[in-house]
Amino acid sequence: MADDAKTPAPPPPPGGEKKPTAQKPAAPVPDPPPVKPVAPVAPAKPAVPADSATPPNPAAPAKPAGPVPLLWTSPLVEKYRSQYGTALEGQTYLGQNYLTVKSELIPNILRLLRDDEQFDYCVDITAVHYPKREKQFDVLWILYSFPRNERIRLTTQIADGASIPSSVSIWPTANWLEREVYDMFGIQFEGHPDLKRILLPDGWKGFPLRKDYGILQQDKEWVQINLGIESGQ
């Protein structure tokens, strides 16, 4: 996402990756790629006066170009940037702040955010798969601070097969959340007390939320042995 800030061109790297199985119905035909951001935006301007009920909202600012991630400047970011330099970058998109950090920083920065910045509530941990990237996975922590009433997202990139330190010792809630990330993406969390599948059965093969896992794909062998049927489809 870092590249987005520098080049707000419509097809930035993460977006450029097409879904392997996605059949996009009718969409590509009327829309030549460069006009992309205009499509969802256009209606705001040519609105007839009758629609004046809508305007107080974001219709006015910055529509034609489409929103782009901006640099997020805050004491928090500056403090950590002075400490970690370019290993950490703060951005904001549509009013939501996120930090992009190098994966080496991971356990430390999370602990600092909890202890020093009062981000005491780990809302969610999840991942996103970008198969064409060298470091295939984005791992995300969504944090919230009760005292500050503020949300922050933390993103890091890791390669397929690489592991990442577990944050169970920082927020016990990470236990199940990390298990789900492992279950769906196959990302290993080092130091997790009990890293095993949570939603899928223990013997299942494959990680369904990876992009190369088809929507109809299943572990046929597991289905045959455990359910006694040829196929679950």
Partner: protein, 416 residues
């Protein structure tokens, strides 16, 4: 309750509940202190307590086909006689791969799927999803749509709490509340049915606003419902609030401290009953909630009884919100200007709402196409269920049933 196990007898009798050794707090006499976390509890689930006099531990499966698990939850209980030493939840029996489906559907096509996660609060799910996509599109629903959304969502909150109360009380052995709550919930479902044709999986909202204008007489019916249901909530309370059996089955049962609740990411009424005054409708208002006057009910002890009181108070607060909203529905369009083909610009967004069960969040990654590149649901039930182990340790098997009920999980949302 059944056979004593050589344990101090005051632990066994439910009639002595108030004197019961303060449930999960007291693990220290077993010398189990390693691995303890913020709130003094072992939150890593790694070290079940040792049995009394090293008697044999008993491993028992509860569920997945067990009426008190509210669906297909399997809990493996490790027991010392009747005392719970540790639990493990086995979930996933209802897993449908909702997040994978989302990646293969357009934004509009995916909208009905969210109703099937928390199916007793489908309207809330729809609201969260629609608002998340709207945020991604950088549009906002019209004021009229927002008011309609608030009314329906709060009606749904009441319906969800009613269903919770009925089944929870039934689990504990009180049969009558179930009939009362289902009788009254029916009135809400009738309003839903008249509004959008569906009673449970409503698909009431669309990205950008609402599909349907309110039907003739909608406001009157909602107002009539408010008049109808307010005394009914008192009626539930006459059955339970000071009922001796109810109090002894719920007081000091399933205690979770505020620190533990926060560390475990617990949200919703469970968190508020532990004394944390936090509600997303106030903290980060969405829809039209900033325009209404209401309070956040909180508990003090964090036990099952307080959670009951908090939810009862929440139903009354919902009535307050609905009353203000239905008297002030603004005129105007119900749909904002949204393109026919929804193609959000490239970007990531997280949006969450206060569903009846807690913080329901949607994290959406758009690659600029008509389908989400990644859609993550942050389900409150899933995260709250994780606290079950902390809440039931040291209690009796019958209390496990009470605690599962009090967390208010919906397995459709836990498993997705």
């Amino acid at each position: 309750m059944s056979a004593p196990t050589g344990e101090d007898t005051k632990n066994i009798s439910h009639l002595a509940a108030p004197n019961r050794e303060n449930s999960n707090r007291e693990n220290s006499d077993r010398g189990e202190t390693e691995g303890k976390n913020v709130g003094g509890n072992d939150l890593t689930f790694a070290n079940p307590d040792k049995t009394y006099l090293d008697s044999n531990e008993l491993i028992i499966n509860m569920g997945p086909q067990h009426p008190a698990t509210h669906g297909v939850l399997r809990v493996i209980l490790k027991l010392d006689g009747e005392k719970v030493l540790g639990t493990e939840c086995i979930i996933g029996y209802l897993h449908r791969g909702v997040e994978k489906i989302a990646e293969n559907r357009t934004y509009t096509m995916f909208n009905p799927y969210v109703d099937r996660m928390d199916y007793v609060a489908a309207v809330s799910n729809g609201l969260g999803y629609c608002e998340a996509v709207e945020k991604l599109l950088n549009v906002e629903a019209t004021p009229r749509a927002k008011y309609i959304r608030v009314i329906l969502t709060e009606l749904n909150r009441i319906a969800s709490h009613q269903l919770w109360l009925g089944t929870h009380a039934l689990d504990i052995g009180a049969m009558t509340p179930l009939f009362y709550t289902f009788r009254d919930r029916e009135e809400i479902l009738k309003i839903f049915e008249k509004y959008c044709g569906a009673r449970l999986t409503t698909h009431a909202f669309r990205i950008g606003g609402c599909q349907y204008e309110t039907y003739a007489g909608f406001e009157k019916e909602v107002k009539n419902f408010l008049i109808f249901v307010a005394p009914k909530i008192n009626e539930y309370e006459t059955l339970l609030t000071t009922n001796r059996i109810w109090m002894e089955r719920t007081k000091n049962v399933g205690v979770i401290s505020a620190a533990d609740a926060i560390a475990l990411g617990v949200t919703g009424p469970v968190l508020r009953a532990s004394g944390v005054k936090w509600d997303l409708r106030k903290a980060q208002p969405y829809a039209a909630y900033s325009e209404f006057d209401f309070e956040i009910p909180v508990g003090t002890n964090g036990d099952t009884y307080d959670r009951y009181l908090v939810r009862m108070a929440e139903m009354r607060q919902s009535l307050r919100i609905i009353e203000q909203a239905v008297n002030g529905i603004p005129e105007g369009p119900i749909m904002a200007k949204v393109p026919k083909v929804i193609k959000p610009p490239v970007g990531e967004i997280y949006h969450s709402i206060e569903s009846p069960k807690g913080e329901l969040g949607y994290f959406i990654v758009s690659d600029g196409s008509t389908q989400p590149y990644r859609l993550r649901v942050r389900p409150p039930s899933f995260v709250n269920l994780q606290a079950l182990d902390v809440m039931v340790r040291g209690l009796l098997v019958a209390d496990v049933v009470a605690v599962i009920g009090t967390i208010d999980i919906v397995l459709g949302e836990v498993d997705r």
